[in-house]
């Protein structure tokens, strides 16, 4: 069975939800502990949401130096698929696996809403089950979600099609160019602020199951590989 690792840092909140989403998609969820460098032979890793280390200093700043991240960073550079959701996205930017940085929301408030997104890049390891331009609803909840990068970086991301998701209707946090998520050049590392793991069952919230595609995408890719 395809093994997808889900990292728990102290202060991670959505690890159980992410494990559930992995299982709903049909893969095996493997818990990974921040103090272990060993990734237990997983085929891909998800860095879930939460407030790792309380988000003290900056969101993701302390987790980025954890032992597990040493291995994740190394293997991600080697092509292992990595998905960072919310706090996980922040860890990925702090680790420089993805460019830019995440700042306090423009409203200065925590925001929790069911957010409409457009999938801009359906070619990444985590988005193949969507089609480019597809509009989906995914819950979003953060206070440090304002994606920021310098103009050159933003232009490069646009030019290379690396803006993976864009906010529609409402830009909930003041992200530049309505960016909700991005990918690295190779398409194996993807980070986004909204929470697809909260949209895998019809029962929960009203967003439906639009988030399941993240987990089925990676599963298909790994099975095919």
């Amino acid at each position: 069975m395809t093994r997808i690792g889900v990292v728990t840092f102290p202060g991670t909140l959505d690890d159980r939800d992410t494990q559930r989403a992995v299982r709903v998609a049909g893969a095996e969820a493997v818990p990974l502990w921040h103090r272990d460098k060993d990734l237990k032979q997983v085929d891909a890793v998800v860095l879930p949401g939460g407030f790792s280390y309380g988000d003290y200093l900056r969101a993701g700043a302390i987790s980025r130096f954890s032992p597990v991240m040493e291995t994740v960073i190394e293997q991600a550079r080697g092509g292992m698929p990595v998905l960072g959701i919310c706090n996980g996205f922040q860890v990925l930017t702090e680790s420089h696996l993805l460019p830019g940085a995440m700042l306090r929301n423009e409203s200065l408030h925590f925001v929790c809403r069911e957010q409409k997104l457009r999938v801009e890049n359906a070619g990444t390891a985590w988005t193949a089950d969507y089609s480019a331009g597809q509009e989906i609803h995914i819950p979003l909840k953060n206070i440090d979600g304002r994606y920021t990068a310098d103009e050159r970086t933003l232009d490069m991301l646009e030019a290379e099609g690396r803006v993976a998701f864009r906010y529609l209707d409402v830009n909930p946090n003041g992200s530049q160019r309505d960016i909700a998520g991005i990918t690295n050049e190779a398409g194996n590392v993807v980070g986004l602020m909204p929470h697809p793991e909260h949209a895998v069952e019809p029962l929960i919230g009203t967003a439906g199951t639009d988030g399941l595609g993240f987990f089925t995408s990676i599963l298909k890719k790994l099975v095919a590989a």
């Binding site: 102290p10 202060g11 909140l13 959505d14 159980r16 939800d17 559930r20 939460g50 407030f51 280390y53 309380g54 988000d55 003290y56 408030h109 925590f110 925001v111 929790c112 809403r113 819950p139 909840k141 206070i143 929470h195 793991e197 909260h198 069952e201 029962l203 929960i204 919230g205």
Partner: protein
């Protein structure tokens, strides 16, 4: 300064002690001396003063609260009742649920962010101390007038404190209340509730048993936070003019608390814990004396071993410190190593600070000397009990005679329409999304219903879809008009809310917020409210499992409205059968269940249109509530209704507005023959709800109501993009939406 040891105290009986500054009354101090047979040491005085404060000892309320036990209904559901950190209820399938509401009113006025944040922290620790995994929080809040400048300070701070702490813990916020009223100016009410889930066999109690077992303090280091807060803040009227009385505010660290949750649950899972106690008000004094007095033996504690944040703290201060995010566990000696290992795994500091003894004394040592030697029961359970004088206020009759049904009503349809818009945009009736969107409602992936639904609902078993629902309600205006009825109306509303979403109401917790118990009028309100709630719970068959009392909510002579906040917990076998509020399907029929009388006393309409409070609150008919609940639960289980919304403040028009906006669909409403449109729309008669019935289910549904004797009136159909009250007015949804949603951001943001 010489250390005030037990031996020293015995030799110096005439030493002056600051008992008054610590909040003790003369006779209370004398009683301490009598119990000990000598004067207390400084450390003992600290312990007694904080444990005998109103906040910790319930000395003014105890004689009344007994009714909750005496009048408790027969039920098999109650696994742990009043007296523990929180009550525990059987919800079936081997699961037990614990829930409780507590207040953090005064601290939240002083420092809104930290006060509210630590309120969440405290209630969550109560829940984990029962052995449960916390699964959701709720936050019933009350503020001063919405347009008062200080509300702009207090509300955003409180909301971001609750969000900041709860979001960081990973607990979905699934409900609460936001009420504005000038009576809460200077005395905002910040109540916080939490639900926890466990298996029956995992229930833990706060007691220290088994001589030789170790007492482990774990969590944050102890600092100088809130020293004396428990006694001084909660037992004296807060008076802004005397900032010197402000104790150091406690600062919360939700990250630390999250680690505390995880490591505690891991220790439970490995069966490492004999007894456990959270640290709330009164810190170590409370935790050690409660643990020891609930257990079979005594306890020794070495205070030098307590990890400190500030090395200059005196032993008295260590005992009184209210530093947050600390817990105390009693662990068998051979399991201590493993317990400490789990704490280390989660980066939680843990220290053995004491031991259970086979004596019956609580002895505390400092620098090798004994500074406390008490019978812990006298500290924790045998505090003073007052039978305070009570008197029906002199103004009560005049207030009730000032009949709201006589207020000027809208002269014509245009005025009716205008008043509808005023009502739905008034601060108390307006959308609270600006607030609740700052709370994470998705985390844990089990939230089936959250605000603005009638009750919050979470799934507790992924296989069977078993779930629990919680609603909190309280209407201070009703309670002011009649505290007995007001408490029952709060109960009825919370009960109805739970049933409306499809869950069966099981049990009750409460947070009783009142003015000064030293005022006989307030004490009368309190006693009436408790009597009303206890009688109501007996009649509805829902036991009170625990709760909290907050007194001294007043500025000078002016008390807040009596505000009993009631939380009702319900269970639902299959959360997929839940009933949401939203009118989502065109063509479905709208039925009004229950009877509408001309009842405007204390209503939102009387407040919004006439700034009036007088008359009598709506009548209470708990048998009708029970019948309504049964119908709503059956209808949900058998798929006869697709949406339902209970009627409360603002009456029918408020409920229609919310259901329509939530579903994005309009409604055509026909005023039944003989009904007065104004009364139909604005009356706040209890025991009512609206439901959306698919045409295919209409017969089955009306048959059921008819057979059981519940009035069900077809009042319209879901249709179009406006609320159209035939022959009266129509308001486009977009206009309603703007009116409903703009108010709070305009006032507060």
């Amino acid at each position: 300064m010489t250390l005030d040891t037990v031996a020293h105290a015995a030799k110096t009986p005439d030493t002056e002690q600051p008992w008054a500054e610590l909040g003790l009354k003369k006779d209370e101090y004398e009683r301490v001396r009598e119990i000990l047979g000598r004067r207390p040491t400084g450390a003992e005085l600290a312990m007694y003063s904080v444990m005998w404060s109103e906040h910790c000892s319930y000395k003014s309320s105890k004689v009344h609260l007994r009714q909750f036990g005496e009048k408790a209904p027969e039920t098999d559901a109650l696994l742990v009742g009043i007296g523990e950190n929180a009550g525990v209820v059987d919800v079936g399938q081997g699961y037990a649920v614990t829930f409780k509401v507590e207040s953090h009113n005064h601290p939240s006025y002083v420092e809104p962010y930290q006060g509210a944040a630590t309120g969440i922290g405290g209630i969550v620790r109560d829940i984990i101390a029962m052995g449960a995994r916390p699964v959701a929080v709720v936050d019933p809040l009350r503020f001063g007038a919405a347009d008062h400048p200080d509300t702009k300070r207090v509300l955003p701070g409180v909301v971001s404190g609750i969000g900041g702490y709860g979001n960081c813990l990973g607990l979905p916020n699934i409900g609460g209340e936001v009420v504005f009223d000038a009576c809460y100016q200077g005395n905002p009410l910040v109540n916080a509730g939490c639900i926890g889930v466990m298996k029956h066999e995992d229930i833990h109690l706060a007691k220290a048993s088994g001589a030789g077992n170790k007492v482990i303090l774990y969590g944050a280091r102890t600092g100088g936070d809130g020293i004396g807060g428990a006694s001084i803040l909660a037992s004296e009227t807060f008076d802004d003019a005397k900032p010197s009385k402000r104790p150091a505010v406690q600062v919360g660290d939700p990250f630390q608390e999250k680690l505390l949750i995880e490591c505690t649950l891991e220790a439970y899972a490995e069966k490492l814990v004999v007894g456990i106690q959270d640290f709330g008000a009164a810190g170590l004094s409370c935790a050690t004396s409660e643990l020891a007095s609930n257990g079979s033996g005594g306890m020794t504690v070495t205070l030098d071993d307590v990890p400190l944040r500030d090395s200059t703290l005196s032993p008295e201060e260590i005992l009184m410190s209210e530093s947050q995010e600390r817990m105390c566990a009693v662990v068998e000696p051979e399991k201590v190593a493993r317990f400490l290992e789990i704490c280390e795994k989660w980066d939680v500091i843990a220290t053995v600070v004491g031991e259970v003894t086979d004596g019956d004394r609580l002895e505390i040592f400092w620098r090798g000397e004994k500074i406390v030697d008490v019978d812990p029961r006298t500290v924790a359970h045998e505090g003073p009990v007052y039978e305070r004088p009570l008197a029906r206020p002199s103004w009560q009759d005049a207030l009730q005679a000032d009949d709201a049904n006589k207020l000027a009503r809208p002269a014509d349809a245009d005025e009716l329409r205008a008043q509808v818009l005023r009502l739905v945009s008034s601060p108390n009736q307006a959308s609270k999304a600006w607030i609740t969107d700052q709370y994470d409602r998705f985390v844990q992936g089990n939230t089936v219903l959250a605000q603005p639904e009638d009750s919050g609902m979470v799934r507790i078993d992924e296989e069977t879809n078993l779930g629990v629902a919680l609603a909190t309600d309280g209407n201070g205006r009703f309670a002011k008009l009649d505290p007995y009825a007001g408490a029952q109306l709060a109960l009825a509303e919370a009960y109805r809310n739970v049933a409306t979403s499809g869950a069966k109401p099981l049990a009750v917790s409460d947070c009783l917020n009142f003015g000064s118990p030293e005022d006989p009028a307030v004490m009368w309100q309190f006693s009436e409210a408790v009597r009303g709630l206890a009688d109501g719970c007996l009649q509805l068959g829902t036991p009170v499992t625990g709760g909290n009392v907050s007194l001294y909510n007043q500025t000078g002579d002016v008390a807040i409205h009596p505000t009993p906040v009631v939380a009702v917990l319900g269970v639902i076998d299959d959360v997929t059968r839940r009933t949401p509020v939203a009118f989502a399907d065109e063509g479905h029929l709208i039925y009004l269940l229950g009877d509408t009388e001309e009842e405007l006393g204390g209503s939102a309409w009387s407040q919004v249109v006439h700034d009036h409070l007088g008359g009598l609150p709506p009548k209470v008919d708990l048998e009708r509530e029970r019948l309504l609940a049964e119908i709503l639960i059956s209808a949900s289980r058998d798929g006869m209704v697709d949406a339902a919304h209970d009627l409360s403040d603002g009456g029918l028009i408020q409920a229609l507005t919310e259901s329509c906006l939530q579903g994005g669909k309009g409604a055509r409403v026909v005023v039944p023959d003989g009904a007065d449109p104004f009364v139909l729309l604005f009356s706040e008669s209890a025991g009512r709800a609206i439901v959306a019935v698919p045409r295919s289910e209409e017969l089955r549904f009306t048959d059921m109501c008819g057979a059981r004797g519940l009035p069900a009136t077809r009042i319209g159909v879901i249709d179009g993009e406006e609320i159209d009250v035939q022959g009266q007015f129509s308001i486009p949804l977009s206009e309603l939406k703007d009116a409903h949603e703009a108010t709070i951001p305009n006032l507060i943001a």
